[in-house]
Amino acid sequence: MKLSFEWLQEYVDLDVSAEELARGLTMSGSEVESITAQGADKIMSFEITSNRPDCLSVTGLAREASAVFDKPLRLPAAKINAKRTHKDHPEVECVIENAALCPRYTARVITAVKVEGSGEYFKDRLTAMGLRPVNNVVDITNYCLMEAGQPLHAFDMDKIRGNRIIVRPAKKGEKITTIDGVERKLEPGMLVIADSERPIAIAGVMGGLDTEVGEGTGNVLLESAYFDPISVRQTARRLGLSSESSYRFERGVDKGMIAKASDRAAEFIAKEAGGKIGKLYDAGGLKAKGARVKFDLQRAEKVLGISLDKKGVKNIFERLGMNVAKAEGGKMTVAVPTFREDLTREIDLIEEVARIHGYDKIPLTLGKMIPQVTRKERSRLVEERLRQVLPALGLNEIMTYSLISESAEERFSAISSRTVQLSNPLSEEQKVLTPQLVDGMLKAISYNINRKNRDLAFFEIGKIYARRGEKGAFLETPALCMALTGALLKNWREGERNADLFDLKGMVEDLFGDLKLGSVFEKKKVDGFTDCATVKIAQEKEASGFLGEAGNELLEAYDIAQPVFIAQLALGRVIEKAGLKDHYHSIPKFPMSTRDISVLCDKDLAAADVHEVITATGEEIVRRVELADVYEGEQIPAGKKSLTYSIEYGIDTRTLTDEEIEAVHSKIKEALVNKFDVAFR
């Protein structure tokens, strides 16, 4: 909402500059976003909140300024003497078919107007308020709209067929070309103003081109009405058409201003365009009645945390155009003017008192302490822990959009469940709530590689979304995605080494270990990935996720030309099972002994199986089994590999003898031979 400072000063005696006014109004709730000089005038741009349609006019802002600065108002008024109106005007029939959507409609005929350009005064005022001057009649309706906030419309009387005005819902198939030259299809339910044959305006939104007032117009029908805010809003939205009128009707115009605005405009038209004013046809009979609201001073003090005196509060109400109708002690009944339909409850009046009193005068206090334990929830603690561990492993946290395209979603059908889709997406790119974090991860990797940043180590902790069954509940569950690509290590001393699957797997093992969880990896094919394994929490049935190398098709889809290693884990069970407490285990008092064993086996034998046999056979005296080396090559037969393990032996109560260790070590060898037919090097 724009406001001419000069115009405002016609209605309120202010002794402050535009800047001071702006500060005062901003601090009382009508925020001034900017002030620009226009000639000698200052144009102020306001952000008027949707609860204050009364401020969408010069009069309204004058009332605010008057209240805030406690200065007298001088509002314009016109009173047309009904006896002096012309009697020889054509008779008009005004019919409201739907009183709920139009509780009052007034029309007035003004004959013998001379339509031409407006005088400088009107032109300047409208331009200052951001409107384009059209002609004297139209400009006056706009001037009065800006002045008082009541939208008005002038029809060319001679184009109205049958001298009938019918306010009714549009019929199926009806169309209207509005004054902006656009033909609009009307839908049943949209309220229109019609003559005996066709719609001539969309009620409260925009007039029709056919009945527009232009140079040839001799007689005018002036409309001033009240239209239901919801109906106007729905119609404007469905047509994608918003106007100064619809903006105000949607928010609710002053029911007390309907006839007054018509009088004021008619008076101006008679003066500026030389017309003869006819009588006011007034249909619908809506009465403007201000609310009466109870107000308790003590309650206000309790809500705001200040002490108030009755006189001061009464003064605030009066400055705002209200009257204290009844007062017993601190309990008052306040009569609210018709233009303040937002004030219906005590709390609304408390806010009025607060904002005129000044928020800055309310002290700073701290309420009583609320006794509660503020320990964070388990999910938050685990996620926080992960956010400590993952950066320590060298990963950068990324954050990706939860909305992805359908085509991206389809690439991951193998790791997705039933998806959740938007019914009104902004674009195809953001249509599906993502059921996995891999798409976002690959996008981030691709984005960086395209900018020549090829060595990346990323993680994201985010939600993934799914639906249980076709019509079932919506699920949002936390998940973790990790990825490595390019060099993991690069320095002058060690040179460069690219990340591989085992770097990633090691990180997964590390973070499981950090959460005191065992991790189990099982080889498994996952569509789109190669060298895949599922990742399971030890002793769990279901896998938490997988890790693997992105397959060629995926890499192509994201325009990536280097290997990418990815892991995705659902965090639900991880959060439930994670150990968050550190518990001390005593340090062994007796020395451990280490024996190495080099197992020569088939190339295809899974290392995890060998490991399993060693731990299982070794019983409690094997403390640790570590794979020290994997060898394939010239020194061993083709089709074979050599796995070298370091096995640490020891018990808590004493030092083991060589014989004891040797016995178990031989047992392990024997078990390996029996199970896998291996040899030892």
Binding site: V303, L304, I347, A354, T365, I370, G394, M399, N453, K463
Partner: protein, 340 residues
């Protein structure tokens, strides 16, 4: 030769031999030769058997003293020789070569900003609560006094999923879940991800993050809201910032306020970031509207409360001097590595 003369001779021989020592190994040989179990000095001490008590005592003292002196000398020489040897073996490093650094990872700036906000409120006695991103009209709008087809919805364009289900356009839905789930008192903050169908540009995103707060009890006052938010802003943005509470409108609070802090970049003088007016809009806040209490079955006569909300992206952008909201979700590693 008397014992004492022999001792003197040993001393001379030892000193000479010590001088001739070229490396630590020779020093060790010398130690064995003179001071070892079968060494010369030890031999003398053993040969004292035939002497008188007085002589024995004197010779013994002299011999022990000599042994101590020799041990000291040989130790000193050995340390020196080992040092020389070590220095000879060591290759001199070019200390101007760059250090070999471990690359630490980083946290996302929105994670860091949310964590700072959370931490301050937790220290003020707030709990952290969470709620669903996929929710219904009731929780996102109706219970918050935002009726259908009302202009107050203009500020909340919304993504819909199906029927009553939508993607929350603010974290205020968590307030409703929280109040439905428990009786007052409540003192909680609600961080989370929210969505609005805004076309993406430098200052708009269809997905962003908020932190909201809610306090409900008997006797919660507007002045308490001012007190808590003042403490928060000073902890978050610096003790010197000033606050300004401006009346505003939110459907779910009454009275409502927008909270500005004095621009911490130009110290309130006016700059590009604060658009020249010296103030930065940081929070929306207000006293919980009685209609909201009615929607969750709280006695609006008995309880009062306040609520507030802030945008995490906006705060992070101000604090880090980030000018384009898209940077948060592009994940350029050169951006990500700047935050710790």
């Amino acid at each position: 030769m008397s014992v004492l003369e022999r001792l003197e001779k040993i001393r001379e021989e030892f000193d000479k031999a010590l001088e001739a020592c070229a490396d630590a190994r020779q020093a060790e040989e010398l130690r064995v030769k003179f001071l070892g179990r079968k060494g010369e000095l030890t031999g003398i001490l053993r040969s004292l058997a035939g002497l008188s008590v007085e002589e024995k005592k004197q010779a013994g003292q002299r011999a022990n003293k000599l042994k101590e002196e020799c041990t000291e000398k040989i130790n000193a020489v050995a340390v020196k020789l080992r040092g020389e040897q070590y220095a000879k073996k060591r290759k001199a490093e070019d200390v101007t070569l760059p250090g070999v650094r471990q690359r630490r990872g980083t946290l996302h700036p929105l994670t860091l900003t949310t964590a700072r906000i959370n931490e301050i409120f937790v220290s003020l006695g707030f709990k952290i609560a969470e709620g669903p991103e996929i929710d219904t009209e009731f929780y996102n709008f109706e219970a918050l006094n935002i009726p259908l087809d009302h202009p107050s919805r203009d500020a909340f364009d919304t993504f819909y999923i199906e029927g009553q289900h939508l993607l929350r356009s603010h974290t205020s839905n968590v307030q409703i879940h929280l109040m439905q789930g428990q009786k007052p008192p409540i003192q909680a903050i609600m961080p989370g991800r929210v969505y609005r169908p805004d076309a993406v540009d430098a200052s708009h995103s269809f997905m962003f993050h908020q932190v909201e707060g809610l306090v409900v009890d008997e006797d919660v006052k507007f002045s308490d809201l001012k007190g808590v938010l003042t403490l928060f802003c000073k902890s978050m943005f610096g003790e010197e910032v000033k606050l300004r509470f401006r009346p505003h409108f939110f459907p779910f609070t009454e009275p409502s306020a927008e909270v500005d802090i004095s621009c911490f970049i130009c110290k309130g003088k006016g700059c590009r970031v604060c658009k020249g007016n010296g103030w930065l809009e940081i929070l929306g806040a207000g006293m919980v509207d009685p209609t909201v209490f009615e929607a969750v079955g709280y006695d609006a006569g008995k309880y009062t409360g306040y609520a507030f909300g802030m945008g995490v992206e906006r705060i992070a952008m101000l604090q880090y001097g980030i000018e384009d909201i898209r940077l948060f979700f592009e994940n350029d590693v050169r951006f990500l590595r700047q935050f710790n």
